[in-house]
Assembly symmetry: C2
Homo-oligomer: 229 residues x 2
Amino acid sequence: MIDVIAFDADDTLWHNETLFSMTQEKFVRLLANYHSTEWIEQRLYATELRNLHYFGYGIKGFTLSMIETAIELTDGQIQGREIQRIIDTAREMLRAPVQLLEHVAEVVSRLAAVYPLMLITKGDLFDQETKIAQSGLADYFTHIEILHEKSETTYRTLFKKYQIDPQRFMMVGNSLKSDILPVLALGGQAVYIPYHITWMHETVAPDAATSAQYVTLEHIGLLPALLGQ
Amino acid sequence: MIDVIAFDADDTLWHNETLFSMTQEKFVRLLANYHSTEWIEQRLYATELRNLHYFGYGIKGFTLSMIETAIELTDGQIQGREIQRIIDTAREMLRAPVQLLEHVAEVVSRLAAVYPLMLITKGDLFDQETKIAQSGLADYFTHIEILHEKSETTYRTLFKKYQIDPQRFMMVGNSLKSDILPVLALGGQAVYIPYHITWMHETVAPDAATSAQYVTLEHIGLLPALLGQ
């Protein structure tokens, strides 16, 4: 029995990582005269991880990390107008229209008629609120929570806040690390729907015992059948 | 009669604008060989306003605006290592310890024993959560809300969410634009406690009729007496 179904947003309801990935490709091209693709990507990732503690997740922090990596990798020789191009891509990312994944609109509206739905996402408040508003899905969710991090601690706080019994809670998302494992650890239910790209920082390899505790679906269109709807 | 007292955070409970102001002074010094202080400040402010729609409030957006202004004002001649210094100041801002304003710790703990208190702030989620945690005040607040913008619409949503009667709600803050005027417009009560610096974007000049509707205090230490505590 399920009282509440919660959805992750980025790469579960709408495309997100593709946008970061496309921007990263542009960034690699910008520095192609200086270094190999592999080395640029490796240094950018290292800068992102180092900055996560200061900047958190989201486009603005990613942009600052790109700028910092560009300065480091060119030994300060990068031109002002090239850095301007990096900032311009940030603005392009921020105004990119929200693109729902296939089946999302239908599945969310159908399940909202039966269950209270929650949206639980992490990242930049301003950015996430803009996307939620643009998605046209906001009204289907009883509660929307934007967290700075999805961990056992933050899920536990939510369960307390909304008096949710974890055993009757189901989380649906594309990140094993953020959406699945912490919810299972608290006794909740989880449905893993992989997206075709996952940011390295979100990847984990769960053991066989853990894998047996959650359901993996190929796409969200299969969720109503799983729920017997 | 008051059911709930809500506090703004930045420059009401702890120092914030001084940090932006000090960073801006460093920025002006960085470009001092190129332009006058006035022109640098004017162009930075113009960039900030233009970017507000994309980046929202907060240190990361401010940093991207400083970088963009530096590129613009030096016609792209700014050096990579100078831009690195701008990013370094962002990290310094983000790890600056939270400094409570005078009387805050005492007043908040005293009022929390009598009223349910709320914290209503705006800006960067990650940044604000870090400051709230560091402040040591989190446990005094029944609800903490971090908004992307403080407007009649967002206050109305909060009143509905927490079933608050605006007439029995008091907002305490340092921004007429964000803390006082929207709350008055919805029939609430407001206490204005000016901070010694106000960001230009937050300044408004209310008319005499509006000014008569809120109380101005010199510092937060005077709040308990106003409430008859």
